[in-house]
Amino acid sequence: MSEAREYKYIGQRSIRPDGFDKVTGRANYGADLSLPGMIWGKVLRSPHAHAKITKLDVSRAEQHPGVMAIATYKDFPAVSSEAFEAGEGATDLLDLARNILADGKVLYDGHAICAIAALTEAIADEALSLIDVEYEILPHVMDVRDAMKEDAPLLHDDLFTQGLPEQPDKPSNIAARMELKKGDIDQGFADADVIVEREFYTPTIHQGYIEPHACTVRYEEKGTSMVWCCTQGHFDVRASTAKLLKMDLSKLKVVASEIGGGFGGKTTVYLEPVSLILSRKSGRPVKMVMDREEVFRASGPGSATRNWVKIGAKKDGTFTAMQARLCYEAGAFKGSPMGPGCMTVFTPYDIENAYVEGFDVVVNKPKVAAYRAPGAPQAEFAAEMVINEIARELGIDPIDIRLKNAAREGTQTLYGPKLKAVGLIECLEACKNSDHYKAALKDNQGRGVAAGFWFNIGGQSSVTINMNPDGTATLVEGSPDIGGSRASMQLMAAEELQIPADKITPIVADTEVLAYNGTTGGSRTTFATGMAVIEAAQDVIRQMKERAAAVWNVTAEQVDWVDGTAVNTAGEGRLTAVEICAGADRTGGQITGRGNINARGAGPSFAVHIADIEVDRDTGRTRVIRYTACQDAGKAIHPSYVEGQYQGGAVQGIGWALNEEYIYSKDGILENPGFLDYRIPLASDLPMIDALIVEVPNAFHPFGVRGVGETGIVPPLAAVGTAVANAAGITVTELPLSPPRVLKAMQSSSR
């Protein structure tokens, strides 16, 4: 078990292997590939929130000099409704097609209608204005509350609510309902001394990756087509694209470029199938790059929600019942992260009685995509705010009330499994003992604490390790590296092989090189791909031992692997990895280790954050003055990049809490599709973010690893929300806590 093991490589703050290319500008991202003869694709997008396309005439555009091809929905081979796994969670093929190019009806501002490929970007842009489109504007609906009403305008007349006791006969904007229950909720509330209930609103937010979606493709009628794109999962880009265009997987090679941020938003396809159609029709390689406005209007943001939570507690702080009703916007097509919202909302607590009901609702906004712990921040924000209010009413310290109820080993979760060893209590204690928590606050300052939970996932990963004749290794993995995971893979391989990390070069290979790899998401990569790396390394060691055994004429069982060296336990002799590899040609050829796994046993990661906020009482403006993010990593393979995940998640959550939101006009047009008015945090907005790593090993991973990428965005909403509430003396129920909202609340506050 990991506690007992002394590590030589993992836990070191090594220089990341891909770093040199990234600090010199040599690393190639989605928009950085150009091919000979390449032309440029551009998309015509809906200016309306909801409309029927009554006319779509491309003939004038087609004749424009320099235009090479035009793609519309009709260019897809016939697709029908069919659920399939690609990216994060299930996708409906028909919805996917209709989202990429509208089928007779546009469902949100920015919805793609058709695409043009031309000799230059400017010509393509110019030709877009020659497309003759006429619309019949339909009533739109922009909020779950309105969309769930009986008489709401319907987005789809073929959408019937799933998950009701009886199959409904009328279509609805409610795509699905689910419920989870445990114990006796009525009894639980009857036993409570104090009950707090509130409804919270969280806005549509965007992942805000700095790199826009981009791809360069080349369609080959007879050979293999190629897609180069920035994605979190090139194998799933291949799966979706091949399915949409009815291609064999082996005839489509997808190359993952370096990726300039994803956070869940690059787990689906937008441009790739369209550009392949344009390439097929023009016979030329095609490059498509979204501009920033397109990214905001037409990629997949995170769900807005209206979540109601009710919690009962005894005077001593023991929770007796927890109830929630969670309504998530899916955007224009079904599939919000309502499910994970329901499953995570109360998981930080060991609670006997709970009931959660969730709704997945379509509205006239872009189809949501995953965003870091999809669904969890919105739900847990509501729960954690209510818990802080209960703690305040009962006069109990917010960390103490959480310690009293914290989920621990053996806790029966609402969604299914009993928890194995988890680190929530350790995180709470680390925060309680921190200098930050003990520090005094000044006037107009407030502090907030919140916990957060995310499951993490495992899934399929395929890795090969090729040993080179000089004893160095090339580690071939298929998980796009969004935050430094190649460094983790390198360290884990070094640890297992016991050869120096800098002798191992990790690369992310394309879809032709490896068997299927799941998308980088769900905080799975260091855990699952890491396990495949360990398995591949063990495969290498097994073969190295066999080669040494053959040299010594002993059995492989008589050979030990110590410090990167084969040791003959049945006699004399040591052979280093370098010596074995150098002689591999004489012992049976070169050595390749393989690890193809479907990893189970992802360990959940809990976090606790502390936020201190100062408020300007005259303007309602807030400032984060101190912040601590504490989280269980199981085992931090590369502590710097673990801290980086905590800090980055915390800051995305701070942005969500304070300033970020999609602002729509009355007509349903997005009014802030740019970084000027979609206000993500700046360097000057923030203090240093103290990162505390707690390590409670995950029993299912050889090194004890838990995914760390996502949990960090869960606690900030309530930590910041509570800190603002305390600093300003207001009740917080709506995000973002922008200055006008805070000022208004202060002016009408009775708190």
Binding site: A122, S129, D618, G620, E671, S684, D685, P739
Partner: protein, 290 residues
């Protein structure tokens, strides 16, 4: 519009000639930080850009006994590094310093800020309280317009076709005078002003305010000079009561809209807060100076 031709004249006459004689619509460009964004795409609408940064006089700033003569195309980065200007017009320089990021500062200019005629332009209230004059050249010669009359609507200035803003003349303030500018934005940087307030005050030896100008931004279609707010300060020692009165006058003069950057109600309130705070800073500076 899309740029189809780029001209880099070396003299004002040459520039005016390009603006007057071009077959396509022509616009003068200084730093381009607004113009390039506004004219992206729309390839069917041609535009000629006349870069004013190669005209020496438009890239110089001189301070003498009469005051400041400012070449309108000097970058904010260059201008804000000028301690001689900052010593006299600290509020104007802090307004220039607030425009955009370091990168934007490297290009953006006061002339561009003014000609763009955004109600939220940060340097506009600061120029107004300093009673700046705009020198405009055109095919028929030069004319001078007080800066508070330069903007006539959202994105509209008073210049006719082929006219060019060639200088800003800022008079030297009377002894005991100082200015300040503050704006409100949700983040700490990078945002467009939700509201802005510039104040200039003149104090006599006893600390009594003898003259004051208050101008506010982002709360009406154009930046506004608010004489009532200035009057509220004149004759006082700029005490709390006077500051509150000036703030109330500024809020009353504001006619803002609700948009993605703020609500009408919020802007009216905050412009008062800013007026009060800026007046306080200006008064402190004036006390230090006199």
């Amino acid at each position: 519009m899309a740029v189809v031709e780029y001209k880099a004249p070396k003299t004002i006459d040459e520039a005016v000639g390009f603006l007057a004689n071009s077959i396509h619509p022509a616009k003068a460009m200084a730093g381009g930080t607004d113009l390039i964004i506004q004219n992206r795409g729309h390839y069917d609408q041609p535009l000629v850009v006349v870069d004013t940064k190669h005209i020496d006089s438009m890239m110089q700033a001189t301070v003498d006994a009469d005051g400041l003569v400012l070449g309108p195309s000097i970058s904010c980065a260059e201008l804000t590094a000028r301690d001689d200007i900052k010593a006299i017009y600290p509020g104007l320089i802090e307004a220039a310093f607030l425009i955009g990021s370091t990168q934007i500062q490297g290009r953006a200019s006061i002339g561009g800020n003014l000609c763009n005629a955004s109600p939220a332009g940060d340097t506009l209230p600061a120029l107004i309280v300093n009673a700046a004059q705009c020198v405009i050249a055109g095919p028929d010669g030069e004319r001078t317009v007080p800066v508070e009359e330069f903007c006539i609507g959202v994105g509209k200035n008073c210049m006719a076709r082929a006219e060019l803003l060639v200088a800003l003349k800022v008079p030297r303030p009377a002894p005991g005078t100082a200015d300040a500018y503050l704006r409100f934005i949700p983040r700490s940087e990078m945002d467009i002003a939700v509201a802005g307030a510039g104040v200039s005050v003149t104090l006599d030896k006893n600390g009594k305010c003898t003259a004051a100008r208050v101008a506010i931004g982002a709360v009406a279609p154009t930046p506004l000079l608010v004489p009532e707010a200035g009057d509220a300060l004149i004759g006082t020692e700029i005490d709390d009561a006077a500051l509150d009165a000036a703030a109330a006058a500024a809020s009353a003069a504001a006619k803002p809209i609700t948009d993605r950057r703020g609500t009408e109600e919020y802007r009216k309130h905050v412009v008062g807060v800013l007026t009060k705070r800026a007046a306080k800073i200006a008064a402190e500076r004036a006390r230090g100076a006199s």
